[in-house]
Symmetry: C2
Subunit: 243 residues, 2 copies
């Protein structure tokens, strides 16, 4: 059995987190990265030993990951589902659905504050690129979309986002780490797309929004590929440096 002592999830993001949260975030990363392969059966007891915690935080983690659809709880053991190409496209379907809905709400309200906030986040993203900080970039990228969604002020849409976010975050983290190594040129396009987003919200232009959402969606194909590359990098033992 190959045991990994490296943690995939940025440890500084877990400074105040409980043991349960740590396990949840780390386990999620290992599943999404493919370090724990799809089909693997996870045992509460084994995980408790691996993470050097009791079964309580492990149980908590498994319940959450099951609700995120990346594992499946059965009578005996938790079966890893993971993220295949299909699931990633499905996640983007949902994001498209949510953000389209949100946009329809945004065209009816004042978005000046939101645009200011988004511009700030975009600046942050640029700085993250400048300093090749993949994790920070991923964080700001996720925050960008969350900020838009929050602006719609719709608690049940936010609920969906909260359910989707952790998986998205993990996926984007892995994707961005890989891109900083192998496809830095991608970031120009990503930044441009986010500028388009802001512009669409500012002008309340449905066509422009549709265009930027669509471009983002097209990017999925690339992102799916990213995950494979990311998994290959991991399996080769090229481990990520986080801080």
């Amino acid at each position: 059995m190959t045991e990994s002592r490296e943690f995939l999830y940025p440890s500084k993001w877990l400074s105040k987190a409980s043991a349960g949260d740590r396990v949840t975030y780390e386990l999620r990363m290992r599943i999404i990265s493919g370090q724990i392969e799809s089909g693997t059966i996870l045992s509460e007891n084994k995980l408790a030993i691996d993470f050097a915690v009791s079964r309580s935080p492990i149980r908590e983690a498994l319940k959450i990951l099951a609700s995120e659809n990346i594992i499946r709880l059965e009578r005996m053991g938790a079966v890893v589902i993971g993220l295949s190409e299909i699931e990633i496209e499905e996640i983007y379907d949902v994001r498209l659905l949510i953000e389209s809905f949100v946009f329809e709400r945004l065209v009816r309200i004042d978005t000046n504050e939101l645009i200011k906030e988004l511009s700030k986040i975009l600046e942050m993203m640029k700085v993250a690129i400048k300093y090749s900080d993949a994790d920070e970039f991923a964080y700001q990228d996720v925050l960008f979309h969350e900020t838009i969604i929050r602006a719609a002020n719709h608690s049940y849409i936010l609920m969906i986002w909260n359910n989707l976010k952790p998986v998205m975050e993990s996926f984007i983290l892995l994707s961005m780490r890989m891109r900083f190594k192998e496809k830095v040129e991608d970031f120009t396009r990503i930044i441009k797309n986010h500028e388009l987003y802001i512009e669409a919200i500012r002008t309340k232009d449905r066509d422009l929004m549709s265009k930027s959402l669509h471009e983002n969606f097209d990017d999925v194909q690339g992102k799916v590929e990213d995950l494979w590359i990311s998994q290959q990098i991991l399996s080769k033992g090229v481990v990520q440096q986080n801080d």
Copy 2:
């Protein structure tokens, strides 16, 4: 302190359920029915005593209810959010969003099996009306929509549904119990609307689907009202007979 020994959730639906599940379902019903008022602070220990179980199943329940947005976990105690008019409309927004998405998938596949299944459920609903079985009717109503959603074969849309379903189910249960007592004439309309749903799926007619979704949505106003009536009935001590 007024303690209720009556259970709101149909006990026969919990035959194989764990203590954690029982608490989750019952607590959800009490919150949505308004028996536990919005703003109330729930204590793990007090709940454990009330339900005569340990803190473990209570913790499990609170985590789930928090992910459903009907309570909010804070550093000290869980604050009840409940379902106000706004939340109910929001839930229907999401249902509309999901079912519209699902319909777009259904027009592209063979739906013969689905229609057969839905027709069967509709028959069941009619029988439930005939025997004034509110709980059975609610069950079949929820199942009707779940069956449609499942047919789309989209795991992340199903994930959203799974997150929304318990709250919907509780709400529909309460609403239908009330209607059987106070507004029996409603059921003719509900059945008709479901027939329209099936017809829309059969003919793959977008306009018809939009019409039936819209009618269902218009029904929300009535349903919100239902909850108030339901809450009044509860506060008057008129308790529901379940089996």
